[in-house]
């Protein structure tokens, strides 16, 4: 399950970037680009949130290093 979620989330990331490269090479149009990027976004967030919820990381998060200094720029 964890591996499937990892693969799906990576596909989500790929669908976020690759359509813009395909648009540059005239392989897809703008409407297809927006659709693919939307699918990529949904896939990424759903899979990553599911992964975080179902398989909580055992290691301490970076919260400790981020706590004091939110980088805002």
């Amino acid at each position: 399950m964890k591996t499937i979620l990892n693969i799906l989330s990576l596909i989500g990331l790929a669908l976020t970037l690759i359509p813009s490269i395909l648009l540059l090479t005239d392989s897809i149009n703008s409407a297809q680009l927006t659709t693919l990027m939307t699918i990529g976004m949904v896939l990424w967030f759903v899979c990553r949130i599911l992964r975080e919820t179902l398989f909580k990381p055992t290691e301490v998060s970076t919260h400790a290093v981020e706590h004091d200094t939110p980088h805002t720029l």
Binding site: T16, I21, S30, M37, M41, V65, D68, T69, T72, L73
Partner: protein
């Protein structure tokens, strides 16, 4: 809570806020690379790139200025901040308390908190421009310093209320969500830049420079009046995070680093967030100007024009994940000012201030100046730490850890800080000199004044 109790609590929470980070709690390098890459692709990037274009900066000056300025920022993290952090292993606040005293750190914290509120306000404005799209909200334009419609005010209040309440309830959930969103946001920025390039219809660098110059001409209704050139871009890129590197706020980050060389991880943030993302955002505005002649650098519609829904969500998430920890931190600063006060209410108060600031688009439009001012005010405190570390402590961490805590209010530090900062703020306000030129002279002046004043203090004490 007694000091011993506080130390125990901070150690058990894994944050070691009141003691040096022990060896077993140190973190590996990839944590720092990931953190910097993600955290510098934030809501502010959607504003800064377009503001460069509107200020008439040539493409060549942007590219060169950002390359050099970001390199200097990385070197500042690597050679000024990280070496002290990896030896002293204290948070900025704890380190500063030992030199300047608790009372003065509270004042520094308050300044930090207030500036954070206004920065968060700009981010609420950014998010509101994306949330407002489905409601046909009239977008504020560059000339609007005041809110331009009731819809805008209502949406800012709604966005601000959600952000403020979530920040008040805690940091953990939003931090986790920000970590999840970061890689996606970085790729959306890159995709936005690539699509904008396509929309600009340029085949080579010469074509891009031509379209860029035309965009500047249209945006300024003629040749630009701005004097922003290579040096402005370079100094801005170097010092937009001045509070973090030369200002030593990132001692709190690098105290967890096994080696000072982890300071190089900041390059991920600089060249992803402050190079690629800024240029992408500027290209988005250039594309918008070319397509419909709209010179308004409003992030929501700009992102919608290039990549649609993913762009709108990216603007909302970027603004939200930036504003949230900023408000949280401001809340902690306010809480520290009033002993015994509740973190929830202090954070909510910070959120309310940020939301009120967000109603005024001026804070977003004046982001370049505001960021310069932010560095000018906060960065000099880093000079106190740097000069104290090398001249007073001789780089010896034990000397710092075992030192008798400073008095509540070290006047040498106070005057070394406010004299150069006061002069700089006066010159920014009255002479109209750009704020991003001041962090460096203020930092140097503050360090030298600290050595002089603390030397005099010692002589008087003897």
């Amino acid at each position: 809570m007694s000091t011993a109790d506080q130390t125990q609590a901070s150690a058990s929470s894994g944050e070691y806020e009141n003691e040096p980070v022990p060896k077993h709690a140190l973190k590996s390098g990839n944590k720092f690379w990931g953190m910097y890459a993600g955290e510098h692709a934030a809501g502010t990037e959607f504003m800064i790139g377009p503001l460069f274009l509107l200020n008439g900066v040539s493409l060549q000056n942007i590219v060169l200025g950002l390359l050099v300025g970001n390199l200097l920022a990385v070197l500042s993290w690597r050679y000024l901040c990280a070496p002290i952090a990896a030896r002293a292993r204290l948070t900025l606040y704890n380190h500063l308390e030992r030199i300047a005293g608790k009372g003065l750190v509270k004042i520094y914290n308050l300044a930090n908190g207030i500036l954070f509120c206004f920065l968060a306000g700009a981010m609420i404005t950014v998010s509101a421009t994306a949330v407002g799209i489905p409601f046909d909200m009239p977008m504020p334009s560059l000339g609007d310093w005041m809110p331009n419609s009731t819809t805008f005010v209502v949406i800012v209040l709604a966005v601000g209320a959600v952000i403020a309440v979530v920040a008040s309830l805690g940091y953990e959930t939003v931090a986790k969500f920000a970590n999840i969103a970061s890689p996606w946001m970085v790729l959306v920025f890159l995709a936005c830049g690539l699509v904008a390039l396509k929309q600009l219809g340029v085949a080579d660098m010469q074509g891009l420079e031509k379209v860029w110059s035309e965009s500047i001409f249209i945006a300024n209704d003629g040749p630009p009046e701005s004097t922003m050139g290579f040096w402005s871009v370079m100094f801005f890129a170097w010092f937009c995070n001045a509070a973090m590197h030369v200002g030593m706020a990132d001692l709190s980050v690098f105290r967890f680093a096994k080696k000072a060389s982890y300071g190089w991880a900041s390059s991920a943030g600089m060249y992803v967030g402050h190079f690629m993302a800024w240029i992408s955002a500027a290209l988005m505005l250039a594309a918008q100007i070319k397509i419909n002649g709209d010179t308004n650098p409003v992030p929501g519609p700009m992102a919608n024009n290039v990549v649609g829904l993913a762009g709108i969500i990216c603007v909302i998430v970027a603004g939200w994940t930036t504003a949230n920890p900023t408000i949280y931190r401001a809340g902690l600063a306010f809480q520290a000012m009033i002993p015994g006060s509740s973190r929830f209410w202090a954070t909510l108060a910070a959120g309310i201030i940020a939301t009120i600031a967000g109603i005024f688009p001026a804070f977003a439009w004046k982001l370049l100046t505001f960021v310069g001012l932010y560095g000018t005010i906060l960065a000099p405190m880093g000079a106190i730490i740097f000069f104290d570390w090398y001249f007073h402590r001789k780089g010896d961490a034990a000397n710092l850890h075992n030192a008798v805590p400073a008095k509540s209010f070290n006047l040498a530090v106070l005057f070394a800080w406010i004299i150069p900062v006061g002069a700089a703020v006066y010159m920014i306000q009255t002479q109209g000199i750009s704020a991003w030129y001041f962090p460096l002279p203020c930092w140097i002046a503050c360090g030298i004044l600290f050595l002089i004043f603390s030397g005099k203090q010692k002589l008087t004490a003897q």
